[in-house]
Symmetry: C2
Subunit: 392 residues, 2 copies
């Protein structure tokens, strides 16, 4: 197996792109990543997408996007793992380059969700759950989040205000991110006054559906990844794990065992402990998932994850002990489904390169972080993909 580097990154603004098609968004991100790497046509394209068949009547995105990028002939396919599709595509690109069979792979996450409205999108998103035993009964992602959050509050004595810090932090970090969907600051008071989507999940606890595309170019060459003015960022570990798809079948619905398994495996592969991770892009589609991811990944004990967002001393803030959602996370950068995992990879790379600007972990004095992590969830934790990034 070979080492795998991130040679280039690209992203579009996340938002409601009613004037731009899926392929146009994908092309923009792909071109930016290739330009960033100073590279030509990649040998392979791995597309991360969840909803295009359902929302755009478009499968076969690998062929479509290879063609539209002007890379006719290259290897291409599409990877789907519900909300973790982008991260799963990154995993496949990693395997391809690591194997020695592919030298350059573009991982391209793209999703177009806002052309349809309301029930159509909810039904599409519910396809991430068990169609026969959950979705057919009306279970949707927000419903699952509400059930888990209610259970967590019951088990661990946390209240709604204890979740506010995650959304407040996300909005604070999105403020300086030109690609973020919601750049407005959010206060605890506003969070607490928001209407309920599915009690106790309120509107400001829930990441927005969005359009967007992000891309990373993978290569086996550290030299190619190292710019004149920037360090090479390496994928130090890649790990995927699953859990029961139906939440009612999980041994402990609050344990997120797929996240625990995949993060443990990633730490082993990278030879690191959780304490050595300097920032995390996690799957904060709802505040409860930020909490459960932190706990499953060894950053907090079970029942204590919410304490990392204590507004009085937030460990998760940019200047805290473990910054998360450093560009706004799913909550405020926005959550374009199958693109989200690739946005996370782009953002961790920016941090490790020291190119995060006002969002830079470690500040702008050159004290950039060396070890970051991204974790993506699909089907409310039925699948978890964890990547560890490292730079010299």
């Amino acid at each position: 197996m070979r080492e795998v580097y991130i040679a280039g990154i690209g992203q579009t603004a996340v938002g409601e792109h009613w004037d731009r098609s899926l392929r146009e968004l994908a092309l923009e991100a792909a071109e930016l990543a290739v330009q960033d790497a100073g590279a030509g046509m990649p040998q392979a394209l791995f597309v991360g997408n969840m909803l295009a068949p359902l929302l755009s009547g478009q499968a076969n995105l690998g062929s479509l996007l290879a063609d539209y990028c002007g890379w006719r002939g290259i290897e291409a396919s599409t990877i789907e793992a519900a909300g973790a599709s982008g991260a799963a595509a990154l995993r496949q690109g990693y395997l391809a380059v690591s194997s020695g069979l592919v030298d350059t792979a573009l991982v391209l996450g793209v999703e177009k969700m806002t052309d349809k409205i309301g029930a159509g999108v909810s039904a599409a998103l519910a396809s991430a759950h068990d169609a026969d035993y959950e979705a057919a009964q009306g279970v949707t992602p927000v419903a699952v989040a509400a059930l888990l959050m209610r259970r967590y509050m019951h088990e661990h004595g946390a209240g709604l205000p204890d979740f506010a810090g995650f959304s407040v932090n996300a909005h604070a970090n999105a403020g300086a991110n030109p690609y973020a969907m919601y750049r407005n600051p959010l206060t605890v008071e506003t969070y607490l006054s928001a209407g309920m989507l599915a009690d106790p999940v309120n509107m400001f606890d829930s990441a927005p559906e969005a359009d967007g595309a992000a891309a990373v170019l993978l290569t086996a060459s550290g030299e190619a990844a190292r710019g004149q003015r920037r360090p090479a960022v390496r994928l130090a570990a890649s790990a995927v794990a699953t859990d029961s798809l139906a939440v009612h079948d999980r041994r402990d619905p609050l344990a997120l065992s797929a996240a625990a398994l995949s993060s443990r495996k990633a730490y082993d592969l990278a030879g690191l402990k959780p304490e050595q991770i300097q920032l995390v892009e996690l799957h904060d589609s709802f505040g409860i998932f930020a909490v459960l991811s932190l706990e499953a990944s060894g950053f907090a004990q079970a029942g204590h994850g919410w304490r990392l967002a204590d507004p009085a001393n937030p460990a998760i803030a940019l200047g805290g002990r473990l910054p998360i959602s450093t560009f706004g996370g799913l909550k405020a950068r926005g959550n374009p489904g199958g693109a989200t995992g690739v946005y996370q990879a782009v953002e961790v790379t920016l941090q490790l390169r020291g190119e995060a600007g006002a969002n830079q972990v470690g500040g702008t004095n050159g004290n950039r972080p060396r070890r970051g992590m991204a974790q993506s969830l699909g089907g409310s934790g039925a699948v978890a993909v964890t990547h560890v990034f490292q730079s010299l």
Copy 2:
């Protein structure tokens, strides 16, 4: 990179399984493959599927099927490349094992198409084409096949009877395959008397939509793949290539350049010439695609592929120079979408093991073939996946 072997194979009957769900079909094939290998739980599951989101409201099949197979926790994701989804999943499994990061990978193709009828399935299948510039204009797979077949007849002077041999051969081979959907013999006369679906593609020129699941267990150990009474089958080459998605954008619509690129690459990787391939499972969703695949892959010159099916001396028959569709192919074994590429892998493996029974290429006297090929197409040739199989 490591060598990759096929340690186990499994398949369900192809047909209209109205009494069995997608997950039940998948489980049957998965269990058979694992039993065939004498193995336990695989480390990773790569699902090939095209239509479950559209026809069953079910995405996230990786998680669902890992769970339903009792393999909770393992890595899992879903690969989609339209009609080549199963073969694309095989490619990803190959990359995973080849990389050294995964020791055992189950590649599981599954599709459930016959619960819905008529226009719903046609619309779902049309998602393999360009949604904006083809499908929205009413283009479906059979329409594309008809346009290509008409053009081929015009360019090369072939008539409808010249295509009959492909369907006749497929039905003849399916007769002894207990997993095949159509085991009835087909005569040239019956073929010629069939009603038109989209002139000149008639009903007996078109592969049936079907339900089914097939699985292959990949391993890096030749010892594990070699049974006490059977040779080890190795994946000697794996290659994916693309073409323009929209057929009207292709330089030469009859050239199937993705098939040409991927087969050439596969020959190079395997160190073989087309003449050394002893059997081919190709994508005979329509007779014209059998013809174009044979030409693109170097088995016939452009304009001459149909001659290999000459009823007077069919090169493609079991006893011919280049047997194809040896268990019935898409036409008569049936075409369960994203499962089809894995069925092909199962069938080539049976041939190379000498376990093909009445369908054995080389006859039953122990003269089994050593080099086989499978080629899968998606989006009417927008993506082509070619695998070369080899045994000692």
